[in-house]
């Protein structure tokens, strides 16, 4: 059997038989109904909605932390400002160091 010739004839018959262009009745209506039933999620709108939802809990947490830090600092007995405390802590090791003996 001449396979090249068989291939040529089969391809020729496939070329001759162009597929039909018929479209099912009201196909475009079906597509539009599908689009209406399943709207495309808009990523910007999704982000905006999520951020609005997150805004209220964030404000609540902020208020809680703010009030906690305010009342905690008001109720504490420690005195002096923060810079002084910081300096004391950093220089604590130096302050506690015994005086070095000089060798003569």
């Amino acid at each position: 059997m001449n396979l090249a010739e068989l291939e040529r004839k089969l391809i020729a018959s496939a070329r001759a038989a162009a597929p039909g262009e018929s479209v099912p009745y009201a196909f475009e209506k079906r597509i539009l109904a599908h689009i209406a039933a399943h709207p495309i999620p808009d990523s910007v709108a999704l982000w905006a909605r999520a951020l609005w939802c997150a805004a209220a809990p964030c404000v609540a947490v902020m208020l809680l932390l703010g009030s906690w830090s305010f009342f905690a600092s008001a109720g504490s007995t420690s005195s002096g400002d923060l810079s002084q405390q910081f300096e004391n802590i950093v220089l604590a090791a130096v302050d506690q160091e015994p005086p070095t003996e000089t060798v003569e």
């Binding site: 059997m1 396979l3 090249a4 010739e5 068989l6 291939e7 004839k9 089969l10 391809i11 018959s13 496939a14 070329r15 001759a16 038989a17 162009a18 597929p19 039909g20 262009e21 018929s22 479209v23 099912p24 196909f27 475009e28 209506k29 079906r30 597509i31 539009l32 599908h34 689009i35 209406a36 495309i40």
Partner: protein, 191 residues
């Protein structure tokens, strides 16, 4: 005055989904014709065509008006058909002893060197469909576009998104694959 394609696309992008309907009506015959090259079952054809249009609606933002809408849509259609072929590669192996009587007759005529009768053109079409169904997805796509639709390598490259050397390589492999299938027919039926 009827709105142009560009007007319709702009309206769809502005949220008027009903403007998509004229586009679907205009290009559906072309879409269905393309899809029928890759699937014989009418229910599958409708599903694929629907998928193409839904993808087109979803991806319409990516359409740049530099090229005609039809070109963009056909690229989408061909790629969706390719995805369908890749997803339906099961059951490709079928015995050629299952050939129908008209198909066998057509082959007998071919082997005998006699010209087949007019009605056997349908048998040849069924036979070529059977052969195409045996091909791998890339082979079937490239044979359909290159040999049956008579498209150039450059056109296929644009439609499929494959590079031109890749199209050539796949065309070479597809022809070899097709010849192997035809050789199997010859072996099954005549040896």
């Amino acid at each position: 005055m009827e709105p142009t394609e560009a007007d319709l696309i702009a309206a769809v992008l502005n949220g008027d989904a009903s403007s998509f309907e004229p586009l679907v009506r205009k290009y559906s015959p072309r879409i269905f014709s393309t899809v029928r090259r890759y699937s014989r079952r009418e229910s599958e054809v409708e599903d694929i065509a629907q998928e193409i249009w839904l993808k087109a609606f979803q991806k319409l933002k990516s359409f740049r008006s530099e090229a005609p809408f039809e070109h963009w849509l056909m690229r989408l259609a061909v790629r969706t058909c390719y995805d369908f072929l890749r997803g339906h590669q099961r059951n490709r192996e079928s015995a050629f002893s299952e050939l129908t009587e008209p198909e066998t007759d057509w082959l007998e005529h071919f082997v005998g060197g006699t010209e087949a009768a007019g009605e056997s053109a349908d048998a040849a079409r069924l036979l070529v469909q059977r052969v195409l169904e045996q091909l791998s997805a890339p082979a079937r796509l490239v044979i359909t576009l290159l040999e049956i639709e008579d498209r150039s390598v450059k056109e296929i490259s644009v439609l499929t998104g494959w590079s031109m050397p890749l199209v050539k390589v796949r065309a070479f492999r597809a022809r070899a694959e097709m010849r192997r299938i035809l050789a199997r027919i010859a072996k099954d039926k005549y040896l």
